[in-house]
Each structure stands twice: as structure tokens, then as C-alpha cells.
Amino acid sequence: MFFNSLAFAIFLPIVFFLYWFVFNKTKSTQNALLIVASYYFYSCWDWRFLFLLVFSTFLDYYTGIQIEKGKSEQSRKFWFWLSVLVNLGFLGIFKYYNFFATSFSELLNSVGIQASPILLKVILPVGISFYTFHGLSYVIDIYYKRIKAEYNFVDYSLFVSYFPLLVAGPIERATHLLPQVKVKREFDLEKAKEGVCQIIWGLVKKVIIADTCATYANAIFDNYTSMNSFSLILGAVYFAFQIYGDFSGYSDIALGVSKLFGLDLLRNFNYPYFSRDIAEFWRRWHISLSSWFRDYLYIPLGGSKGGIWMKIRNTFIIFVVSGFWHGANWTYITWGFINAIYFLPLLLRNSNRNNIDEIKVTWNLDSVKVIVSILTTFLITCVAWVFFRARTISDAVLYLKRIVTNRDFAFQFLENDRYNYELLLMIGIFVLVEWNNRTKVEPLSGKNSMLKIALAILAIMAFGTFSDYKEFIYFQF
């Protein structure tokens, strides 16, 4: 059941009605309803993986309590490592085993030892990377005594399985979401209206920007050997907007839906393509994952303490691991590595926190500098996206090489009967709308909201891509 499907359009109003009109007596009834709805939502993909979700939830719930109750450090450590190893074990088996087995076998073959890997025929349970990280952060926080263990199983289950964030985040923290599910939610008109605006804007990003860009990006990436330089550049730009529209659109819908139930989720995107350097980009892109890695990997590794080499080592580790989190493929690892390289000059000059203020542009020379730095950051981000999108690293290298060597900048007719340049106007309008609203969560709320909503609905209907349906990219992670 996708957020932009008819099934979800039926499911959501039913749950909303039951939540506020039937199960609104206490927070327990509200939570119980949301749990049932969440498990139903998840089972719509594959009911068998529901067992995995429930097991994972129970494991972290139980080990969390045992860690807190542990009388000795040894006992606390035991339950902590049990939870971490089982969680990572699931992730390892379902997501990474085949990758490691294949890579190891290729390595053996390359040194002359014949080996054929034993591969598992398993499908990746949707959302496993997200709910595993929910559970891990919870257990780690209890172990380091940042939070208390949750003794109410329903409340804890809701924190892990809450349907708006279950399959593609944002990756929530117990410190943020659990306190909200511990109290009865009262209906808040303004919050609900904000939620509706965010859902509609999320749909704009998904069906107009992401899915339309995907049509062009796929036609270019899948046939890159016959594309000219101009098409290849556009292909990278289209993919940049595809993945942004897709993932941030999904996050917007998740946040908006959650607001309808009176629950605030962590903001996941903050106009990342307006970043002035790569450090700022990573503070604005998939914020819940970046901050997760910062808090649970970078800082435990020593963070920025211990000299410049430690800083560099830790930075490379979190970027490469972040790449690997996205998928079991060398292309994702390379993408993470490239981002670490981008980050390096900022780290060495200690300027990675230079751009934390609001972006202001007026008619002066400084603003030209700001715009150039935004465009430069976007450009290098697009180069990295080529590795993310390409099937193999060599495909990505050849793609980039062809941009430089082909030098043909003519309009090109693509395999899908469209011209390569057709989307530029639409992307331009989208960028302008986001730029003018970059201080807000989304552009639809505020003054003349109903008019803006009407225009957004008109745009979704007239310009959206529906028949050539594409799944949300991050569902595969």
C-alpha cells in the first residue's frame, strides 16, 4: 500500500475517523488502533514479514528492560550486545549476505581460486533498515542511560511500527516520539491543516517531480552509451530531482499523515539543494539518518576528538557506512566515499559548520557568491548521484567520461519519444516555488492557502505521472 495509491486514500480516512471518533477515549485506545492499522498497513506488502517486525519489536522491548534492570555491567552488556547482534544479524542476512558472499567469491576467483557463492533466495523485507535503526537507537540510548526503558509493550510497538514512518522513515528517536505516544492526543486544527498541506505538497513532489523525472532519467541512464553530453548532464540533474522528489515527497506525506493523528515526526529534509557546501547538504538531506550516524557511530568512534587523522577516519567511516546502508552494492559505497572526499576540504579547513545560518540573497556581490556556492554544491552532488543511480561503478565512470568526451550539446530525442530538455521548465518552476518558501516546512500553508492547494491539486492532476507508476525509491532500502 503506497502513500499515493487508491488503497491508501481509502485506508487513511477510515483510520482517521476511527481514531478521532471511536478510539479517542484514552491514549491506550488511540495507540491500540494505530498499532492494528500499522500492522495491517505493513502486512499489505507481505504478511509473512510481520512476524519479523513483531519479533524485532519484542526483542528490543525485552532487552531494553533487561538492560535497565541489569544489576551488573556484565549482564547489561550481555543484553545490549544480544539486541545489537540480532538486529544487525537480520539486516546482514536479508540485506547484505548475498552481497558479501558474491564479493568474497569474486575476490577468490580473481586470485585463481575457483569459488561459487551459496546465495540466499530471500526478498528484502520492506522497511527493515528503518525499523532496525529505530530499535537500535532505543537500546543504545537505554544502555548509555540516556532514556528509561519502556514497559508498556503497546506504546513501544507503536514507536517502532507507526505506519507513516514504518517503511521509509524518518528514523525516529525514542526521546522524540515515545513521549508523544505516552499521552492522549487532542485534536489540533492548525496541526491537522498543516498535515493536509504537507501531504498535498508531498504528492506534488512524488507524482509531478519524481515520477516524471524518472521517466527521463531512466531513458538516459539506461541508454547512456548513445546519449550526448547535454542529455547525460540532464540525466544526472533529472535523477537528482527524482530522488529528492521521491524521498522528500514520501517524508512530507509521512509527516503530514502523522500530524493528522496529532503526532510530530522528525523533519527529514530541509531544501537540501539550496545548500552552500556539502556539510550543509548533509545537514539538510535525510536528516534523521545523518543525525543517527552522527550520534550512534561518529561520536562513539571518537567524533572530532583525537586529532585530525581520527576526524578524517571517522568521517570516511560514517559516509561509507551511510552509503552501504542504502544498499548492498559497490555503487552505494562509492557514493558514500565520494561524499566523504567532498567533505574532506571542509574538515581540514575546519569550515564544515560555516553555513549554518539562513540563506539570504539580495542584490549584492555576496549573494552572487552564495548562488555560485549553491550551484557548485548541486553540481558535485549530481556527480555523486551518477554513482548512486548507475548499475555498476564502471557504468558511472563511463557515463561521466562521456559527458566530457562527447561534447555534443544538441537537443536529443530519447527512446521514450520525448526530447531531453522537456522537463527543464517544470524543474525551474519547482525550484522557484521551493526557493521562495525555503523558510517554511512546505509552500502551501499560510496566506491564500486554499488557492495554493487548488493550484497544487490542478498540477497533480494535469502534470502528474500516474500510468508509468514508480515505487518510492527508498522502499528498497
Binding site: 486544527l189 493536509v196 492547494i453 491539486i457 494535469a462 502528474g464
Partner: protein, 293 residues
């Protein structure tokens, strides 16, 4: 909560209003379209006279050279549609009859398409803009599973099939941009394809014993005194499961088997589609067998 529900009702009303307006606008634009494809050309046309009308899929569209019929003095148009099934061929013929076309002969390519009586989404979508303006189209879609959504929900059909009848198509119609679908009296010649797929496996195909739309075309022809000629058209020599054509012959003895009239790979662009040269050999044979006065 009451205020929020009113807010939602307002959004719902706005959505329905936009859907109705867009539906009316798109339909009005499609009603003006004449040079984009064969379906629009028939729908927005008046009575015509034809000696020969050709119907079927791409294996009709690429195989019957209309000009060769014309050279024999037969007014002909090839209404074969790439990707189309018999569902669409039947509807096309019904529309011609509705528009009072006088047709003497219908040649129907009936071979691989006999294996199903389902609609072909990509082609049938192009009839949908006119569903409220033609009883024939409405009745034809009545048996389809999603008829109610397509007919009663404003703008639903344009959203569902946006790649075929959505904004891009509207833009092209408004711009007056034509396609090549109506060139060469509907015949679309193919060139030899360097990477054309010259292997085909039709082992799993089975002709339906009573294809609903084949029978429908046959009975429309009978009711309107149209001479009905059903033919199987050639495939390349590397087809696995060639006995499919024998099964068709067994189930439908009246269909003429021309599958092996052209067999050499050099005459094929891909295994199921002949080149222009192959199509000319095939058409010459059809003319000789059926129109040799």
C-alpha cells in the same frame, strides 16, 4: 474537528471541480483532434467509402501496403494499430459503421491476437476521451472491470492513462503537431533492423476457441454486407511453436493461412514484422488471391 471536516469538504469540492473542468477541457480538445492517430481520425470524421479496410495489430499495420490496393483502383485504408488487440479492432469497425462508412471489404489480421480477448491498455485508452460522446464506445467498454471508474469519475481516465491521453497529448493536439499514423493510407513500412529480434517463442500461445471480438467483427460484417477476409500473416523462420497457426486453422477454418508466404529472415525487421519489401510480396499475394479481377 467540525471546522477541519468543513476544511476537508472544501478541498474535496475543489478537487471535484478541477476534475470536472479538466475533463471537459481535455475532451473538447480531443474532439478537435484529427491528425494524431487513426482513432481520432475515425471519431472526428464523417461518412467515407472504402473498397478495403484493413484491421488488426501491428502485424496488419506493417504488412498490408495500402498503396498497392490503391494502384489496383481499390480505395483502401490500413487501420491496423500497433499493440492493438481484437478488442480495439472490433471497436474501430463499430465506430466506422456508426459514422456511416460504406465498406465493401474488411481484411482482418487474425492470428496471434486470437489468443486473447482482453483490451490492450495502451491502445484502448485512446478511445476513452470520447466515451461520453459515443454510445458505441460506452457500450464496448461496459463489460470492462473498471468501466464505472472510467465513465463516472471525472478526469479519472485521463489520469489513469496519462502517458497516452494526458497533458503531453493535449499539448501536441493544441500545437497541431501531427503523427505519421495516417501517412501511406495507414500503412507503416519497416526497414531492416540490424538488431531485430529474429527469434520468437509462441509455444505458450493458444488461440481461444471462440474469440468474442473476432466473432463480433465477423457478425458486424455480415450484418452490413461487408465481405470479410480473415488472414494469418507471415512470421520469420525461427519461430518456436509454429503449429499455433495450424491450431488457428483448426478452430477457425475460414481464416486464410498466409503465415508461410514470406519466410526468409531478410524480409523481416523482427520475427513478427516484415520489412517493406516483405510486406510488398505479401500484399501482392493477397491482391492476387482476393482482388484479381
Amino acid at each position: 474537528m467540525k471546522r477541519f471536516l468543513i476544511y476537508l469538504v472544501k478541498i474535496l469540492f475543489v478537487t471535484i471541480f478541477i476534475a470536472v473542468v479538466l475533463d471537459g477541457l481535455y475532451t473538447a480538445i480531443f474532439m478537435q483532434s484529427k491528425n494524431r492517430g487513426k482513432i481520432e481520425a475515425v471519431i472526428n470524421s464523417k461518412a467515407k467509402n472504402y473498397d478495403v479496410v484493413i484491421l488488426g495489430s501491428s502485424r496488419a499495420n506493417n504488412h498490408f501496403v495500402s498503396q498497392m490496393f490503391e494502384d489496383k483502383g481499390l480505395k483502401t485504408f490500413n487501420y491496423g494499430m500497433s499493440g492493438g488487440h481484437l478488442f480495439e479492432a472490433s471497436l474501430m469497425l463499430k465506430l466506422m459503421i456508426e459514422r456511416k462508412y460504406e465498406i465493401k471489404n474488411v481484411i482482418l489480421e487474425a492470428d496471434l491476437n486470437l489468443s486473447n480477448d482482453k483490451e490492450s491498455d495502451g491502445v484502448s485508452a485512446k478511445f476513452l476521451p470520447y466515451i461520453h460522446n459515443s454510445e458505441v464506445i460506452k457500450d464496448h467498454f461496459l463489460s470492462q472491470e473498471n468501466f464505472n471508474q472510467l465513465y463516472y469519475i471525472p478526469f479519472y481516465r485521463y489520469v489513469k492513462y496519462d502517458s497516452k491521453i494526458g497533458f503531453r497529448e493535449i499539448y501536441n493536439i493544441t500545437k497541431g503537431e501531427s503523427t505519421n499514423a495516417l501517412d501511406n493510407q495507414g500503412y507503416y513500412p519497416l526497414a531492416k533492423h540490424k538488431n531485430g529480434n529474429m527469434k520468437n517463442n509462441i509455444l505458450n500461445l493458444k488461440p481461444l476457441p471462440h474469440n468474442k471480438y473476432y466473432e463480433e467483427i465477423k457478425s458486424i460484417c455480415k450484418a452490413n454486407n461487408i465481405n470479410f477476409i480473415a488472414v494469418m500473416t507471415p512470421m520469420c523462420e525461427n519461430v518456436v511453436g509454429m503449429n499455433y497457426f495450424d491450431k488457428v486453422k483448426k478452430a477457425y477454418p475460414e481464416i486464410h493461412n498466409y503465415e508461410n508466404v514470406v519466410i526468409e529472415n531478410k524480409y523481416f525487421s523482427s520475427c513478427g514484422h516484415m520489412t517493406d519489401a516483405g510486406a510488398k510480396i505479401f500484399t501482392a499475394r493477397i491482391l492476387k488471391d482476393f482482388f484479381n479481377k
